[in-house]
């Protein structure tokens, strides 16, 4: 009897090995390769000891800064996906519109000196302009380009979204010029604040605080208000929500308003960190933030925040920690490589993300 039982357990094992095709071999090689680079690189870097503790802290803080910007953008992706099941490919460009419109006010304020004399007022003004612009553009995009595809399945909505992305980029390029413009760099933003014995530039603190406050506000709106509840209902099941008397159109517009506003704030933050704006600036952060949204579990608001922060930190610490250790020259050029690899690994191996299991199960 025991022999039969042993056979029974043995046979499936063998057959599962037989089903182990070359595709699995390559997928496992991919997994092992990435882990090997991460582990090997980390060990190598730590043995080399090229970076001091202060530098690691700098990387980390910068990662949190840029990560919170990604989180703000990722929120727009995740909310729109939740409600419409659409990748709003143009969301990165909506961020760009915010950054660009903020630029004109910011440079005006920098000329008149308001940015130095009344920094809080000036920053609020810049944010207001950016948020207004990007919100208006997000709502217009929804109305003109996405609404006709509300009930179309397949490629059409995504291709339309790609078209919108190009249209926005090129419109801004044509109207405002193709050159890179320098964002103003007031002295108070360069000031260094001491924090637990480490020094942090003011602008990074500013960005993190702005992002955290806006995310908190957003979270409260989504969780506590009537409209937020309606939004969550639509993203659970749009048809049932409509039957319960929720105006789906209104909810969709509201979602785009929230996403656009977050993108506007993100645009100004991004521009103040990197000190430049140009028409194509929204593309790469947009794609990365989409990765962050998927990483956190698309459709989940806290997931997008976590995913963004995680992506920012990995991207900032990664080149030094993983790539320097295995002897790759100029690892900072490969920052985008790390972000894109993370994006692809998530899409391949964990498309439902960290917090998205519940939703994935429901949809399966």
């Amino acid at each position: 009897m025991s022999e039969v039982a042993a056979n029974r357990t043995l046979i499936p094992k063998l057959s599962s090995l037989a089903r182990f095709t070359f595709v699995d071999v390559i997928l496992w090689a991919l997994r092992i390769g990435v882990v090997a680079v991460v582990v090997g690189g980390t060990i190598g870097t730590l043995i080399k000891g090229r970076y001091g503790i202060a530098q690691w802290f700098d990387f980390l803080v910068f990662g949190v800064t840029i990560g919170s910007v990604y989180a703000l953008i990722a929120l727009g992706y995740t909310m729109v996906y939740g409600v419409l099941r659409l990748i709003n490919f143009a969301h990165g460009d909506i961020m760009m519109t915010g950054a660009f419109s903020g630029y004109f006010l910011a440079s005006h304020f920098a000329e008149t000196g308001l940015l130095d004399s009344h920094p809080v007022l000036a920053m609020l003004g810049i944010l207001a302009v950016a948020v207004t612009t990007s919100t208006i553009i997000a709502v217009l995009t929804e109305r003109l380009a996405y609404r006709p595809f509300r009930h179309v399945r397949g490629f059409a909505p995504l291709i339309c979204a790609i078209g919108v992305s190009f249209f926005l980029e090129q419109t801004f390029r044509g109207a405002l010029g193709s050159g890179i413009r320098a964002y103003p760099d007031p002295a108070w933003q360069r000031e260094v604040v001491s924090f637990l014995g480490f020094s942090v530039p003011m602008v990074e603190i500013l960005v993190v605080v702005a992002a955290l406050v806006s995310m908190l506000v957003l979270y409260i709106i989504v969780q506590r208000t009537k409209m937020g509840t309606a939004m969550r209902a639509v993203s659970e099941d749009a048809d049932a929500a409509a039957l319960m008397g929720i105006d789906v159109n209104k909810v969709v517009v509201f979602t785009f308003v929230l996403g656009g506003a977050m993108a506007g704030i993100a645009g100004v933050c991004y521009a103040f960190v990197f000190k430049q704006v140009y028409f194509f600036m929204g593309f790469t952060p947009g794609i990365k933030a989409f990765g962050a949204a998927v990483l956190g579990g698309i459709g989940s608001v806290p997931g997008a925040m976590l995913g963004g922060l995680f992506l920012g930190i990995v991207e900032s610490v990664g080149p030094a920690l993983f790539l320097d250790g295995i002897g790759i020259p100029a690892p900072y050029q490969l920052r985008d490589l790390i972000a894109f690899t993370l994006l692809i690994m998530v899409l391949i191996f964990r498309p439902y993300g960290i917090l998205g299991e519940r939703m994935a199960k429901k949809r399966a």
Partner: protein, 595 residues
């Protein structure tokens, strides 16, 4: 359509019917006016204003504004269709006046504020053009009046019988064509003396003369009139009486004529046209490759440029006379182009399969983003210093020799065009055979429903990897020709924009349709290349084309036969429901691919 959707769209439809014609006219006026203002702000209007259609009389910019004015009138006439004429003309008048009024507002705003600080295109020269050089109050009034007048003209044109409307529109189109492409046409017309003297009659060196334009208009308009009046019916009768043998003979003649035209055209038209046609040929090659992936197999691939890059880099590494070539530091000999090209294609196929394996399980929208990420990874690696010892980094690989046949070097763009033409013809044959093969049908099954296809015994892994590999082969061939065309390659040539470009052309042309690829490549690559100043706005045009195509003609300009049949079947079902919706809503055939 879900219940909620049905309910809202029904509501919207009834609201559309209730809307008064006057309100409709106002809306249309606002739309057309916004379009004109948009063109001005983005800088297209000032740019195309520099190109004359008729020298010193009408520029392309003027023509565009005139077309917008006429369009407002035509759209109003089409949309409202009242029984009596006076209210219709009133509505058209309102629409045109509003469209002109928006332009006038732009002019006023330019006068009052210094908009140039923000919008770089709003120059003083544009202000001059907008106000006809007459300054503000008068210029603005003329704008409004001209808009109203044009719209009334447009409405009248739209209501006139087709025997008049068609010749007028076709005549105008020909004048615009001969005016806009005057440089190229003039070069071609220098071919021999008889045509040369015709050129002198129609053109000065800057463009069409007013007399020339008039002659072209009259000739084409009268020609069209005669054709529609009598000739078409007679020719149709003759064709209808053809025997099957005669039909196939006629078809063969047409194909031979087309091939002859393709072969001889660049010789007549000069090397610039040759270069443009060659570029179009390269995009046709890539389009056919992506068509296998997107059109047939339904795998939306935004990293397609990676295969193009692999083809180009393999060719460069194998043939170039540079320190980065493989021959410089390995035992490999420096190959000739003809030996390197198959290897480049092979390398692309391998990369295509490797590219496909990780994303096998990813579907739909995620697949698009994943492939885009893969494409970007390839670009980042090629551009980085880390890979510079192998791939030369940002400096690029220089001195790639041109291909030669028996000691005769193919150096002229026209000669390289023939290389592209042959490659495209071979590739088109393969694509055509693939489409109707067992594999092609399997791809279409996977496209329409992956799970059902698998249940029917189609090996998904094999099927998808073949799509990636074969699609990549086309792109690799294109990349290999691209490398010898430029004789040097840089990582900046392999941007994501190329992937989007190829995607846009197969969507505009029609997915899964070979002639569609050609139409798309000519429209999206050839035209912007010919209108050189337009090149800057090419991607704006692409973005708009993607959105508009998806909204009004998701099956493309030249859909494949299967797609057309499906569409007809769908349309037949929908007629009973609401004829109005068919034009507006992308019919279900758009939803069949993917997922």
């Amino acid at each position: 359509m879900t219940m909620a959707g049905a309910a809202t769209s029904a509501k919207r439809r009834s609201r559309r019917r209730e809307r008064s014609p006057l309100r409709h006219a106002v809306t249309l006026g606002l739309i057309f006016g916004t379009l004109a203002v948009y063109l001005a702000i983005v800088g297209i209007l000032p740019m195309i204003d520099a190109r004359w259609i008729i020298v010193d009389v009408v520029s392309l910019g003027d023509a565009t504004l005139i077309a917008i004015g006429l369009g407002a009138g035509i759209a109003t006439a089409r949309a409202t269709k009242p029984q009596r004429l006076p209210p219709l003309f009133l509505h058209a008048l309102v629409a045109g006046a509003i469209a002109g009024g928006l332009m006038a507002l732009l002019a006023i705003a330019m006068q009052l504020f210094d908009l140039r600080v923000v919008f770089i295109a709003l120059s003083a020269a544009l202000f001059e053009t907008l106000t006809f050089g007459l300054g503000l109050p008068l210029g603005a009034i003329i704008l409004v009046g001209a808009g109203a007048l044009l719209a009334v003209l447009g409405a009248a044109l739209s209501l006139s019988p087709p025997t008049i409307r068609k010749p007028v529109l076709i005549g105008l189109a020909f004048v615009v064509f001969f005016g806009v492409f005057q440089e190229l046409i003039q070069i071609m017309m220098q071919f021999n003396d008889a045509i040369g003297s015709l050129r002198e009659a129609l053109y000065t060196w800057e463009g069409l003369t007013p007399e020339g334009a008039g002659a072209i208009f009259l000739a084409t308009a009268i020609g069209t009139f005669l054709w529609t009046k009598s000739l078409r019916a007679r020719v149709g009768e003759r064709v209808a009486r053809f025997t099957p043998a005669q039909h196939s003979y006629a078809k063969a003649t047409r194909i031979i004529l087309a091939v002859l035209l393709l072969v001889l055209f660049p010789v007549i038209a000069g090397s610039y046209i040759g270069q443009v046609m060659m570029l179009v040929g390269l995009y046709i090659l890539m389009g056919m490759g992506l068509n296998l992936e997107v059109g047939l197999a339904g795998l939306l691939d935004l990293g397609f440029v990676a295969f193009f890059a692999v083809g180009a880099y393999t060719t460069a590494l194998l043939t170039a006379d540079s320190p980065h070539a493989l021959a410089a530091y390995t035992m490999l000999p420096s190959l000739s182009y003809w030996a390197a090209m198959p290897l480049a294609v092979m390398a692309s196929v391998i990369v295509g399969v490797l590219f496909g394996i990780p994303v096998l399980g990813v579907r739909g929208d995620y697949l698009a983003v994943a492939t885009m990420g893969l494409g970007e990874i390839v670009r980042v690696i090629v551009q980085s210093d880390a890979a510079a010892p192998l791939l030369a980094g940002a400096q690029g690989i220089l001195q790639i020799p041109k291909p030669s046949i028996g000691g005769y070097e193919l150096s002229d763009p026209v000669q390289l065009f023939y290389l592209t033409l042959v490659a495209s013809a071979v590739a088109a044959y393969f694509a055509w055979r693939l489409e109707n093969s067992r594999l092609g049908r399997a791809w279409m099954a996977v496209r329409d429903d992956e799970d059902v296809a698998q249940a029917l015994g189609i090996n998904l892994v094999k099927c998808k990897l073949l799509a990636y590999g074969l699609g990549a082969a086309f792109a690799g061939l294109a990349g290999s020709i691209f490398a010898v065309m430029l004789t040097s390659i840089y990582p900046t040539s392999f941007q994501l924009l190329i992937s989007i470009n190829v995607l846009a052309l197969i969507i505009v042309g029609g997915m899964a349709s070979l002639p569609g690829v050609i139409v798309g490549a000519v429209a999206l690559v050839g035209l912007p290349e010919l209108l050189r100043e337009f090149g800057e706005y090419r991607y704006l045009f692409y973005g708009a084309a993607l959105i508009i195509m998806m909204r009004i003609k998701p099956e493309g300009l030249w859909p494949s036969a299967t797609r057309r049949r499906e569409l007809r079947a769908d349309a037949g079902e929908l007629v009973a429901d609401d004829a109005d919706e068919i034009a507006g809503a992308p019919a279900p055939e758009a939803s069949s691919p993917g997922r």
